[in-house]
Amino acid sequence: MDRSNAILQREQQQQSLNPKDWIAVDQQNAWDLLHEERSLMTRISTSCADLDDILGGGISCKQVTEIGGVPGIGKTQLGIQLAVNVQMPSYCGGLGGKAIYIDTEGSFMGERAQEIAEAYVEDISEYNRFLHKDLQACQGEIQGKDVLQNIYFFRICSYTEQIALINYLEEFISDHKDVKIVIIDSVAFHFRQGFEDMALRTRILGEMALKLVKLAKMCNLAVVLLNQVTTRYMEGSFQLSFSLGDNWSRCCTNRIILYWNGNERYAYIDKSPYLRSAAAPYSVTSRGIRNSASHCKRSKLV
């Protein structure tokens, strides 16, 4: 635990040195905020139209979004999809940014990312063809390879590394200004062992969350935290809840729960300051996250 204390102390020193940064960020009135919200395209599509609908267009920039669910529900798939979709060029209504992918569990697979990237490239070129039928090849064709090169991938093996990396992110992003999304898959894994002092863990997690909130605001990017779920004994029965406890859950702006409903995967907005609670089905296909197939059929019939 000495290690983490040392890190904490250093962080606190760093923070207290430049309090002006903190004040400067928040000097904005509501009118400015509204203007900014409207003028800037601040959503990253999930490639699932139903999910985008309930999210108001996609995962929003400047905010921290936590996504959780049982193993195998598609958290990593959604993470990879977002890392690819953030690159969508502005003429397709995207951000044209790059992605940082922080893999703490080792679930990120290069070949899967390639598969999703290639499907994305196909979709984009199809869109181009549809849009400019006569202006063929006006833009250099994007390739799956280029898409993968725009993802900065970090593999983390301990919580000290994780804290160090998050401290370093601000510097990294100031060198790579086109980063528009930071994905941590998963935020919980290394914090679920080796902590006897739970108060310390809460404090470290709180610091980490603050850093991420600040990063999202200052650098105008989306922070997506994938989290595990755990069973907790509450009121006489076992219930599913997000890991890392209640204090942590207050740090995230938005929270999406992924769950099974029969044989369909669903996403549910559990917490958001501006979206109403809603659920939407989605599916994980070989091309990535897409609308749920059975749902499509149903809407066609109607």
């Binding site: 049982v70 992918y101 679920r192 069973t231």
Partner: protein, 245 residues
């Protein structure tokens, strides 16, 4: 300690692009049909978890890539120092733990404090194993046991994990031992089922002579790189072979 207090620049982590991860290295299962089902084999650096029978222990080990005999010194010394100072002719590329459940199911009580201690240990162990997988570029395969699902009401066992809506083997509804917290520790999970069938009644099968038989299947419960599919397999003298039907 010294690492933390030194200049932050030394802590600066290096990034790579996913391009560097390609192509994913795979450890063959020794059978083209099974390999096809697994997308080419078990990927290195991925922490696998496999529930069912022991045959998998020998099988993913390719004779050409691994020490000819399992080294008897392995259990007596810590695995980490063994891996670091390995003097074997060929590098160790597979770690098999058979089985994780056997120890944990016996040693711990069903009390809240024991369960918390147990799940904390799971994360510690899997964190370490994942670190090995990355540092030494190897496959980690962990077998688990299954248990019967007793009540069909709600309970911790009833949470659906992965592609299978209920697991069945030998005609019984089962669920993996060690629960949700261990499921959070692994990257992918395979499930092996075994069912007895009457020769004439089920499927085509060989006619007449064999009245009863067993049908084994390998299911992908979850994996970041595989769709939820399954494949039939048989165990022969030569090893484990996939069946193409």
């Amino acid at each position: 300690m010294s690492q933390i207090q030194s200049e932050p620049s030394t802590l600066r982590p290096a990034f790579m692009t996913p391009q560097k991860l390609l192509p994913d290295e795979k450890c063959s299962l020794g059978c083209p049909i099974l390999d096809c089902c697994m997308g080419g084999g078990i990927p290195l650096q991925l922490h696998n978890r496999n529930r069912g029978r022991k045959w998998f222990r020998q099988n993913p080990i390719l004779p050409s890539t691994l020490p000819p005999r399992p080294t008897p010194t392995l259990p007596r010394r810590p695995v980490e120092s063994f891996l670091e100072n390995s003097k074997t002719r060929l590098p160790v590329r597979v770690i098999v733990i058979d089985s994780m459940a056997a120890l944990f199911r016996a040693e711990f009580d069903n009390t809240a404090s024991d369960l918390i201690r147990r799940s904390s240990l799971f994360f510690k162990i899997s964190g370490k194993l994942k670190e090995f997988a990355k540092r030494f570029n190897l496959v980690v395969l962990v077998t688990n046991q299954v248990m019967d699902v007793v009540d069909s009401g709600e309970g911790a066992n009833e949470i659906r994990i992965g592609n299978l809506n209920g697991m069945y083997s030998s005609g019984r509804r089962i669920s993996p031992a060690l629960g949700l917290s261990w499921a959070n520790c692994v990257n992918s999970r395979l499930f092996l089922s075994k069912d007895e069938y009457e020769g004439g009644s089920v499927g085509g099968g060989e006619s007449g002579s064999q009245s009863r038989g067993t049908r084994r299947r390998l299911h992908v419960v979850f994996a970041p790189h595989l769709p939820g599919l399954s494949c039939e397999f048989v165990i022969r003298r030569e090893g484990v072979l996939g069946v193409n039907r």
